[in-house]
Each structure stands twice: as C-alpha cells, then as structure tokens.
C-alpha cells in the first residue's frame, strides 16, 4: 500500500522533514517499499541501493535533528541515472561492457547531492551509453511508461523519468546529449531540465558526446526542478568546460511572473504533419502565457532543420573516441583472444549492443582521414549557423517555446527496426545541445489516449532562471503536473 507522502513534491516533503512530521528513514523506507513493489511493472532501476540509502537517511535524520546544514534536499530520496559514477556502487551505463564496473569516485553532481544531505535509492535504467530515445537499448531491461506500460518512457534517461513519474523517487538526475532529459520528461508527464553546457559539472558523467552532454534534473514540478538545479550547478575545478558564473537563487527568480516576457515561436518547430494533439497542446500553453502578460511573437530559426543531421555526425564522432577505452584491458568486460587485437574485437563485439556499435561505426567513419572535412568539419559549420540563428532570435525574445517531442509515448518495438525514425524523436531537442543552450520540458497536456505531452522552453545561455520562471507561471495556472499515472497497460 503506497504511503500518501510519496505523492508529495520535494518542497512539500522537505517541509515535513524539517517539521519532524516524518523522518528520512521512514520516508526512505516507504519510498524503497513502494519502489520495490511496483518495480516489476515499471523497471526503472538497474541497481537498487537499499542499505546505502538507509544509511544516508539515518545521517540525514541526525542532520535534521541538529538543524545544522539542512537543505531542501536533506533526507529526500532521489534516484541517479546509471551513467553518473557512484563510489563503491556499480555504474553500468546500461551496458554489458560495464556490468562489473565499480567506480572509486563520485561524479561531482552526486557528491553535491550527498553534501546537500540527499538520499539515493538507486541507479536508473537508460539506453546503453545514453544512445537512444526509448530506453529500449539497455542491456538489462526495458523501462515502461507509467502512463501506459505498453509504451516506452522515452530516453535515454527513461528510468530517471519513469521513477519520478511513478513516485519511486522524489526527483532524479539524468543526462541530456540530444534530448535525453527533456523527451522522457515529456513522455512521462514530469518536468525535466537540460542546463546550459557548462552550468553543471560533467566530472563523473560517463561520456557519450563530451561537447553536448549535460547533467540535469527530473522533478515533479518546476519548483523542485529549480531546487535540484541549484544543488548541482556551479563551476567545478575538475571540469575545465564548467563555467565560472554565479548560480542564481532559482526559487526566488522563478516566482517573478511572465508579465512583459517576450516569448518566441519558431515556425520551423511546427511543421506540417506534426502530431495534431501535440501541436494543439503546445499552442494552448502559449496562449496561457500570453494570458498572463507575456508577449508572443514569431521567430525564425532557418538552420535548425539541419540540426539533426549535424548532431548525428558530431555525437557519434565524439562517442567513437569516448567509447574506445572499453577495450577489456583494465576494467569491465574482457573476452579473451589469441592476441591483443582479437581480445579487443571479441570484447567489444560482446560488450556493446547494436545501437552503440552503429554509432561507433558512424563516428569512426566521419572522423576518418579523407572524410573529416566533408562530415565533421561541415557539421561544425552547421553548428555555428544554428547558434547564429538562436543568437539572432534571442535578440528579440527572452524565451522560445516549442513542442518537446514530435509525439506522445510510442509502443515498444515501434521504432527499433528503423533507426532513423528513432533519431527523429530528437528533432526538436538536438539543436539545443548543439548550441549549448538550456532547455526545459514541462507537462502541457494529455493525448486522447491518456499520454502526457510536453512544452519545451529554450533560453539564453546560462539563463535557466527565465526558463524556470516561465514554466512556473504556466504550471501555477494548470493541473497537468498534479495528475498521477495509473501504471496500467492499454
């Protein structure tokens, strides 16, 4: 029987913890019991860390009792995507390659959550090495969408989205390289934020595409999203690409309302043939913002249709290099061979799934001598053009509103046979990674079949505050985020 406290948000339950209405150990036990009870249906987790969670919960209770260093996350059970390194807890990237890999260090974001007193209940399922949009490429299991168990939760951070949507955790961390936070957040009916590249440390995030990867939060509402972002953001001396910029007080910033805010609508994101329910829901959301005093105007991002093509050159190129270290020599899977080359090829043949192999081959090809200029260099040029488009648009508007995903959650197997149709899932999200800008998805509707739809808000570099402010204003006027999935098949 699910404890009702689990339906609460972080800011609500944090108040309960501080008021001693509930202890972190009680809360964590309840969360773990519920997690384990529904896990056979949802399958959000690769590793559940009950003992570790209860230990941290007990520590959090001491902290709460002392009243010292209490943060809004102290004692709150969260979940962590299984590509963020956790000291002493295996970190698999949903790959057979890393089935036995136990990092001797924490990712900086994990360290920050621990410092804030948060509790982690486990490591969530994902597409193998974050390559996919449905979490179907995991070596371990298929996570199911809590709104319809026959549908995918999106990906690659499918487990992190599904566990928050189904109250297995109060919030979670994911990573977003081409849409891997925003798209599953949209498909699971929760809030997800990809911060500006450089806003959050990547140290300990197992790399897919280093120039695009960014860690970000999943949350039940916008306020929680801001709390989580505040906890993980900031410069890290271990990550040279993290930005030396102050982190605003998001909780205060987000409540300032949208009166006078300029919202841009790019026509390229509403193509003919866009799912009608998605288009309608997003347009209604824009009307709601207008109602609250925002000024809406059309903007143009003419190069954005080339974003997907550029992305599928840049991301696999970096991935082909990032994943070369999995060679069976030092850690992870090793399949013995007659000689070193045979060991390499047998290990990598057995350790990686088909989607990972496909991308390694794509990237290796694109970087090969004689092809570099035609692919990688060209993609970099497209990247610059897209960035110029956004710079121009942000000269006129403060935030850009689009659909997050082209359609609601799809069924298992629907796109696995056709990689290109799967890649098109990222069509509205990838250009944000390419430009490094922040993007947020907030629930904005339901399809007729009862599947959530997400509104994507795109902001200026390092202006997550405006995204949160826009989403918060919208959320206050709507009820989408309060709906709970039934964990049923249909």
């Amino acid at each position: 029987m699910k404890n009702e406290v689990l339906s609460k948000t972080i800011h609500e339950v944090s108040a309960d913890l501080k008021a001693k209405k509930v202890s972190s150990v009680e809360l964590t036990k309840a969360a773990l019991d519920h997690l384990e009870e529904i896990e056979p249906k949802v399958q959000s987790f690769i590793t559940i860390t009950r003992d570790e969670a209860l230990k941290r919960a007990a520590e959090a209770d001491q902290r709460l009792a002392s009243g010292k260093d209490v943060t809004p996350l102290t004692g709150v059970p969260l979940a962590i995507k299984d590509l963020l390194c956790t000291k002493g807890i295996r970190t698999t990237c949903a790959s057979r390659m890393l089935e036995t890999f136990v990092p001797p260090y924490n990712a900086t974001v994990v360290e920050k959550l621990y410092e804030a007193g948060a509790v982690s209940v486990g490591k969530t399922n994902m597409d193998e090495f974050a390559m996919g949009s449905s979490t179907e490429s995991s070596f371990y299991k298929k996570t199911r969408n809590p709104w319809n168990l026959n549908c995918v939760p999106g990906g690659s951070s499918g487990g992190s989205a599904a566990c928050v949507s189904s109250d297995q955790a109060f919030g979670s961390l994911g990573s977003d390289t081409g849409g891997s936070i925003r798209q599953p957040a949209a498909l699971c009916g929760i809030v997800g934020l990809k911060p500006t590249y450089g806003r959050v440390s990547r140290y300990g995030l197992i790399a897919f595409a280093s120039s695009l990867d960014q860690v970000g939060p999943f949350a039940k509402d916008v306020e929680d999203c801001g709390l989580l972002l505040g906890a993980i953001a900031g410069q890290d001396p271990k990550d040279s690409t993290s930005a030396d910029l102050p982190v605003p007080d998001y909780a205060a910033e987000m409540k300032k309302g949208v009166k006078g805010l300029r919202v841009g609508i790019p026509k390229e994101f509403f193509p003919a043939g866009l799912n009608q329910e998605v288009a309608d829901a997003v347009k209604k959301a824009i009307v709601e913002l207008e109602k609250q005093g925002a000024k809406v105007e059309e903007v143009s991002l003419p190069a954005s249709p080339y974003g997907l093509a550029a992305y599928y050159v840049l991301a696999p190129s970096e991935a082909s290099s990032n994943l070369a270290r999995y060679d069976g020599v030092r850690y992870g899977l090793r399949v013995p061979g007659e000689n070193i080359v045979e060991m390499y090829s047998k290990t990598r043949a057995a350790g990686f799934g088909p989607e990972v192999k496909r991308r390694i081959m794509l990237g290796t090809y694109a970087l090969s001598s004689g092809y570099y200029d035609a692919y990688y260099l060209k993609a970099l040029k497209v990247r610059r053009l897209i960035k110029q488009d956004y710079d121009k648009a942000f000269g006129k508007v403060d935030v850009i509103a689009t659909p997050t995903a082209p359609n609601p959650a799809f069924r298992f197997g629907e796109k696995t046979g056709d990689p290109l149709s799967m890649y098109l899932e990222d069509v509205f999200t990838v250009s944000i990674n390419i430009t490094g800008l922040p993007g947020l998805s907030v629930p904005c509707g339901m399809s007729e079949s009862g599947l959530p739809i997400g509104l994507q808000l795109i902001g200026k570099a390092f202006d997550e505050a405006t995204l949160l402010r826009t989403a918060y204003a919208y959320e206050q006027a709507t009820e989408w985020h309060k709906q709970k999935p039934a964990l049923k098949e249909s």
Binding site: L84, A107, G204, S240, S317, L367, S369, Y376
Partner: protein
Amino acid sequence: MPTEYEPVIGLEVHCELKTATKLFCGCRTTFGNEANTQVCPVCLGLPGTLPVLNEKAVEYAVKIGLALNCTIAQYAKMDRKNYYYPDLPKAYQISQYDKPLNYGGYLEVPLKEGIKRIGVTRAHLEEDAGKLVHAGGKAGRLDSSDYSLADYNRGGIPLVEIVSEPDIRSADEAYAYLTELKNILLYIDVSDCNMEEGSLRCDANVSIRPKGTEKFGTRTEIKNMNSFKFAKQAIEYEIKRQAALLDKGERVVQESRLWDVTENKTKTMRSKEEAHDYRYFPEPDLVPIILSGDYVRKIKDQLPELPGAKRARFASKYGLTAYDAGVLTADQELAHWFEEGAKHTKSPKGLANWIMGDMAAKMKEQEKELKDLEFDQKKLGELVDLMEAGTINSKQAKEVFAEMFDAGVSPAEVVKSRGLAQVSDPKAIEGAVDKVLSENPNVVADYKGGKQGVIGFLVGKVMQASRGKANPKLVNEILKKKLDA
C-alpha cells in the same frame, strides 16, 4: 659510375617535462617508483573522468618554443589522437594537431664548417603513454608474448614533441642537432633530458635522393631511439641501406623501422599499409589555450642566455676558439664556473686550457663534479697567472695544480712553501750556463761544428742543475747567445 646520394633527414624529439605533476591530473611524475603507484582515475582514463590542463606544462612548452625561435600561438588547442594500445588507457592520446603551441622556429647548430640553421616545424604539448612489459613468448613483442604487464606511472606525464624540418643532411648533422637541442633544454631547465630514463627520445625520418636533385625520396621512420649514439648509427645504417636498394634498382618502402642494438641494423616495424589513421579531432573536454602577449613576454624575460649566444660571447670576449667556447658552454654549470674564474685571472684563455685539460682529466679520473672541488676559481686563476707571469714553468704548474686539486691549497702558498718559484734572474742562469758549457767542451765543439740540435742537451743539463726551477725560455736564450758569440 655509381650515383652519389644526398640524405634528407628530419628528427622528432620527445622531451618529458620536469613538472612536479602530470599534464592532466595531480599525480607525481617521479621516475622509477613501484608500478602503478602514481596513478589516479584521471590518468587511468576511468569512465567519466576529465582532464584539467597543468599550467606549468604550458609554461615549459612555451619556454621551449621561445628557445627554439618559434612563433608562440595566441590560440592553441588540444586534440585527440585516436589509436588502440594497452599502454594508452583512454585509447586516445591528448596531443595537438593543427594548432600547436609553438611553430615555425629554428635551431642554430655548430658544425665543423660553421653554424647551420635547421628549421623547427613545431613544438607541441602532449601526454606520455604508460609502459608495457612483455613476458614469455617472443620477447619484447606484445602480440607473441604469453602476457603483458602495464605500468601507468608514466602515463600522462607531459611531453613536448619537437619536430624539425627535413633540413639535416648527414648522421653527423643529426647528432649535432640533437646535442645542441639537449643542451638548450637543459639550459632552460624544463627537462632532465635523461635518455636512460626515457625523458628524451628520438625518431628520425630518413630518405635519400641523387645529389643535385630536388625531389624527396621515399622515407622511412626509425622509431624510439634512446641514445644519440644509436640515432647516429641508425641513420648511417639507414642511408647505406637505402642507397644499396636504389643501386640495385629496387625501391625504398615507406615504413616504420626499429634500431636493433644487438645486430646494429634497422628492422621493419610496420609498413604504411598498417599505419594508423589517427582520426584527430579537437579535444572537447578541454578549452582552447589563449596566450596573451604579456604572458609570453614574461616567460621570454626569464630565459637564460642560450648556448649559441654564450658560445659566441665566450669566443669574442675571452678570445677562445670556437671549439673551446663549445666545450665550455656544453654545460651551463661549467660555463658559469669558467666565467667566475675569468674574473680572477689575466688570461681567460689560459684558464680555459686548464679547465679543459688537467682539471677535466682529474675530475673524470676521480669522478668528481664541480660542486665537489676542493678549490675555487680564485685559486685556479692564481695558478694561471703565476704561470703566465713566468713565476713558475708549466712542469711546476702541474705539480702545484695537483696539490691544489687534492688539498685545496692556494697555488701561491705552494710555490712559496716548496720554493718552486721559477728562476728568471739572468745572472743566476748565466752562472749555471757557464758551468755547463765548461763541463761539456765536446758538445760545445759539436754545436760550433754545425750540429745545432745539441742545444737541447745543454738546456736539459742547465735545467737539471737548477732542479727544474730555471726559466727554460731564458736558459735557451742565454745558451744561444753564449754559443753563438
């Protein structure tokens, strides 16, 4: 008539920088510690770890660039060089591809024929790989060993790769280039340049072409030579091997070769067909390196006088030959020692001779370094001046030097206490000469009969009579005067 060939040689030198910590992490760089004790998640390339550039390494690399007359990049970046090998934990080396820190420089190399300018294409920063030990099977080969052990202590130590233009025309020139380069690196104090420990390593690109032609021949690359002597031998061998091939009408195959120390020949390592495609691309985990003019100027101001300039100055200021100036500046410490000494003598040239002669020989014999010497420059200068003034002769000077070297005593005191001062009083010498002449009438007759060579015998007699103290020059003069009178 056989074709005469001209060798075309370019050198790539890898120099390990002597920073306290590695290029991208805080691990120590000490040589020779127990395997895998100087490693961390970053230099082991564990998943999720990120490199952070060592500022000191950039400074040292820029120092090298400046000492080699390079242009220092205002904008440089790091790139990934992708290849699989078990000593490379990330399966890529972080190096520099199209935007190196230093480029377009040169090195002036002293040759017998004079100074030759050899171009330096670039000097870029990169990380070193680990070390493998192959056990069993065919020794030394990864593929055929029973197993291999990997030590990552060296992995991630900063290297600067210095690439020369193909301006070198003989093995001797290559040797001279390497010697001068090493000297410069030691002068600017950025590397131990210890070849046994691998902190200086060298690859050579060698081709030959018929003399007088422009077009380059097919080149081979001789990899990983860890001594200048081997480099010279390998290049000499390779030139002969290629010439023999061309003379037979065969062609040179473009490939990497290794110098086999036991067989004294180069051997095929891998052919071009097996060559890697390194798939270079910009390292996304690091930001570009932007160097301001101020930063570069500050480093430039810290550069010491370099060997070439010091050589020229020594030759002109102290009247030394090019060779002597070269020997004295080959070691910065020695050059400094000499220059301190020059302040204490009227004859720097005489001082130089002592340093390179008796002093060097005795130091070598007793395995002493400058800091171990019992005497200082002032004392050696004193000795030089005593001899130059004719107070003691060269034979006496050697005795005084020996005593000074062993006991650190002052030469003037030795001369005094042992009564060694040379007799330069013509009257005293005249007496001795007269005595010898009167005692050897037959010899005097021989001289007068035309056998002028016998004067040497007479000089010897006079010297003997004076117990070696007489000024030999004066003895000679007086004898001659009296005999010819």
